[in-house]
């Protein structure tokens, strides 16, 4: 046996993943409180599908099943997909999305640690491109009871009028397309204090969980900081020029998947840049692209596209941002 002969106690990939799941709980609680318990059903469907798919692929690939299945990474992907999709999508869409994430984005590239694209975001993008209508049907906050949500998820018929509501990002986009002023659009019931009515609490929940991850040093500050800065500064720039045409940075950060993206998506260690400077570039890029997609693109939310686009650049970013090491800083002496 070779040195070192000791290891840090209670240290494992499982523990890392467990912390991430734990950090998602405040956001999920806020979700259930504001939107309804349907999300829990989606999370359950996603989790079971993820574990099944993971086990199957591991078996097909002739890899050890137990150790990878229990590492928690598939569950994290499943939860993130469930939280990214509207909570009333039919069950089969959740299943398809998870299969795309686990089988396509993760295992076809070699499994955990090898995938260049964020599995949850790859799944989200595939779903929104293939099923744009279903993917835009978000439950109206506080108006859809659990039974209806369950029926929408499990049942076939989708009598959705009056059940779904425009999300804040949707309402903003539509309003701006009609040349309405930002302040006028904000009068709509879709809006709360800063972002979507009700949804902003969920964002706050993610923020809380993210701070927990920062405190436990599961994630480094570079990624969420740069994402928020990238999105926030871009939004500030345009907002400062024309506040009635471009909503405030606060609106952008409080809406859609901004907080989930900042603390749980761009922070995926496997698919994000790994050097300190690289992390800043990567996450800032995601934030900026997300803002542009939201503002000028055809989809209301752009975090997922930003992540996938920046994922492509990660190998280059990492290579070009290798920090100097001890003893090779080039004459920097006291």
């Amino acid at each position: 046996m070779t040195s070192p002969h000791i290891r840090l106690d209670n240290n494992s990939v499982q523990r890392v993943m467990l912390y991430v799941l734990l950090a998602l709980v405040p956001g999920i609680v806020a979700y259930v409180w504001n939107v309804g318990a349907g999300i829990l059903v989606n999370i359950a469907i996603a989790s079971v599908t993820a574990l099944g798919a993971e086990a199957l692929v591991l078996k097909l690939r002739n890899r050890p099943i137990a150790i990878t299945l229990t590492d928690g990474s598939a569950i994290v992907t499943a939860w993130l997909i469930a939280l990214a999709l509207p909570s009333i999508v039919p069950w089969w869409l959740t299943v398809i999305a998870v299969l795309i994430g686990i089988v396509g984005a993760k295992h076809l590239y070699g499994g955990i640690g090898q995938n260049p694209f964020n599995p949850a975001m790859a799944a989200y993008c595939a779903a929104i491109i293939a099923y744009p209508a279903l993917m835009s049907q978000w439950p109206a906050v506080g108006q859809v009871d659990f039974a209806t949500q369950l029926q929408l998820i499990l049942g076939g018929g989708r009598e959705i009028d009056g059940i779904t509501g425009a999300t804040a990002l949707d309402a903003m986009r539509t309003g701006l397309r009609k040349n309405e002023a930002v302040s006028a659009i904000f009068e709509s019931t879709a809006f709360g204090y800063a972002g979507g009515n009700g949804w902003e609490y969920i964002g706050a929940g993610y923020l809380l969980g993210g701070l927990f991850l920062l405190w436990r040093r599961i994630i480094s500050w570079h990624l969420p900081f740069a994402f928020i800065a990238g999105m926030g500064l871009t939004a500030t720039l345009f907002w400062a020029i024309s506040p009635e045409q471009y909503p405030s940075p606060l609106f952008h950060l409080a809406s859609g998947g901004a907080m989930l993206g900042a603390f749980f998506i761009v922070t995926d260690p496997v698919t994000s840049a790994s050097t300190p400077r690289g992390k800043l570039i990567f996450a800032a890029g995601v934030g900026i692209i997300a803002w542009f997609v939201r503002t000028f693109g055809v989809y209301p939310e752009g975090v997922a596209f930003g992540v996938l686009l920046m994922n492509i650049g990660v190998p280059l970013i990492d290579r070009k941002t290798q920090p100097p090491i001890f003893g090779r800083r080039g004459g920097k002496q006291p």
Binding site: M1, P4, H5, S12, G111, I112, G113, S220, F326, G327
Partner: protein, 513 residues
């Protein structure tokens, strides 16, 4: 003798459970004489000694039995009086487990010292003192076993005395500083005198307050006129592994970041272990060659302790002395971060052996199964060299050695921090050792190939030249012949009928009809 006003930081590091208290209160006691001492002739990082005794010889304690070979060689001495009974191959105290030549001595249990000749330091010349260090067999006792007489050859400003002892479990330097601070400081002042250092800085991790107090007191009692020295500072450095690494300690105490490929002496700094300073004091002031050292015996034992151990004592004797528990399945030499599993329990204590740890599956459980790397970067946060171990890991796995080198694998000090913190339980350091050895082997191969190519080229050139010379010779000869023929042209012209007579006969041969 004041604390330094400002300490510097090095990146990363870890804070493993120190396990110092098990043995830190145990005073240094002499370990009993073993039945046989196996004294390896390789006890320095720079070559082996040449035996100067033969089987059957009677030796005295401190008598030279292995002569220093070459400029960098260091001598080996009989650890006790007795008889040389064998000179043979024995497993080395080294991770490789390779055998090395060793002199086996059966003690006579009289401990008769060879007549000692302390140097009169007031009058001894610098050369005399350095020769004495070499002849006393002194090497770096922190584990690196670099010959000390080579190190003192460089002129420096600041001498750093390394008392950090950052590895868990080990307390031998702690006890040495607590109990023999005066000797350690004296040794340090001698080293300072030899190197021309104007300043001695003693770095001790702040988890050893007693050692800091003892060393501070000893430093105070050094007479200002005794040596030509400015100051001695005893500094408490934050306990964080690997604070005792040479470059890390230099960084913390002086702020100097020794550039990769350069030596500390290029910056006017040199680092010596407290044990080395102590050995220098014993050798020069008391005339005693290096025949023993303080060893911590701890881990899975009933009575952890610190012992003055004769070099050549089998590790098994120490484990028995400390009462190794029944479930002990192996022994480590050195600390748990950088030490190695002893190839056999009979492996002898050598000059660089600071600690023997009895290990059991319970105390040192095998690492959990390796999982895929998730690039979480925890290893990069822990690396004191600021490398990105996970990148090196990917490239090592892929045997992409050009990349491995470009990411500075040869700056890795194998401290083990990355492996310690890896949540996927990847034995990163093992991958790096593999990559390094592969690259070294490839380098050797390349060198050999280049040599072969050069040899082939020169052989081809030689053959070509010889051929050309031969051709030239032949041509010269032919020319000579032609000249001769030309000279005898008249003679040839005078006898044409002979040639003409020969021609038809050839035609006849070609046409048998």
């Amino acid at each position: 003798m004041s604390a330094l006003s400002h300490l510097f930081r090095f990146h990363g590091g870890i804070k493993p459970a120190t396990h110092k208290t098990e043995s830190s209160d145990a005073r240094i006691r002499p370990a009993p004489l073993p039945a046989r001492l196996v004294v390896p002739l390789i006890q320095s990082s720079r070559g082996s000694a040449r035996p100067v005794v033969t089987v059957g010889d009677t030796v005295l304690k401190g008598q030279c039995i292995g002569e220093a070979q070459g400029q960098a060689g260091t001598a080996i001495h009989a650890p006790t009086s007795g008889t040389v009974v064998e000179i043979g191959l024995y497993p080395m105290a080294h991770a490789s487990g390779l055998d090395s030549l060793a002199i086996v001595i059966e003690p006579d249990f009289e401990e008769r010292w060879i007549e000692s000749e302390p140097l009169n330091l007031a009058h001894a010349s610098r050369e005399e003192m350095i020769l004495r260090i070499q002849a006393s067999g002194i090497v770096g006792m922190g584990g690196a076993t670099f010959p000390s007489h080579i190190k003192v050859g460089n002129a420096i400003d600041t001498l750093i005395l390394n008392g950090a002892e950052c590895e868990p479990w080990i307390t031998c330097d702690d006890r040495l500083m607590r109990e023999r601070a005066a000797d350690v400081i004296t040794g340090a002042t001698i080293l300072a005198r030899l190197t021309g250092a104007k300043r001695i800085v003693v770095g001790i991790e702040d988890n050893k307050p007693e050692a800091i107090a003892a060393m501070t007191q000893a430093a105070h009692s050094v007479g200002a006129d005794e040596i030509d020295l400015g100051t001695i500072d005893v500094v408490a450095v934050p306990a964080r592994y690997p604070a005792g690494g040479e470059k890390q300690l230099i960084r913390v105490l002086t702020g100097i970041e020794v550039t990769s490929g350069k030596l500390a002496t290029d910056y006017g700094v040199q680092c010596f272990n407290v044990g080395t300073a102590h050995a220098v004091c014993r050798a020069l002031v008391h005339g005693e060659a290096l025949v023993s050292r303080v060893v911590t015996v701890t881990g899975n034992v009933e009575r952890p302790g610190n012992y003055e151990v004769l070099l050549g004592t089998p590790a098994a004797d120490l484990l028995a002395l400390a009462g190794a528990k029944p479930d002990t399945n192996r022994a480590l030499m050195g600390g748990p971060m950088m030490g190695f599993t002893l190839p056999s329990l009979s492996t002898p204590i050598v000059k660089g052996a600071n600690c023997v740890i009895a290990a059991s599956p319970k105390l040192f459980p095998p690492a959990p199964p390796e999982q895929p790397c998730i690039r979480c970067g925890t290893c990069a946060r822990a690396c004191p060299i600021e490398l990105h171990p996970f990148e090196l890991y990917w490239f090592s796995r892929a045997k992409n050695f050009d990349k491995v080198e470009a990411y500075h694998i040869f700056d890795c000090i194998e401290c083990g921090c990355c492996t310690y913190v890896c949540p996927a339980h990847i034995p990163l350091v093992d991958y790096f050792r593999f990559a390094k050895s592969e690259m070294r082997a490839k380098n050797e191969e390349r060198k050999a190939a280049e040599q072969a190519r050069a040899r082939f080229a020169s052989r081809s050139a030689r053959l070509e030249r010889e051929k050309a010379e031969k051709a030239a010779r032949l041509a010269a000869k032919a020319a000579e012949t032609r000249a001769q023929l030309a000279a005898s042209g008249e003679a040839a012209a005078a006898a044409p009928e002979r040639q003409e007579a020969a021609a038809p006969s050839a035609e006849q041969k070609a046409d048998p009809t």
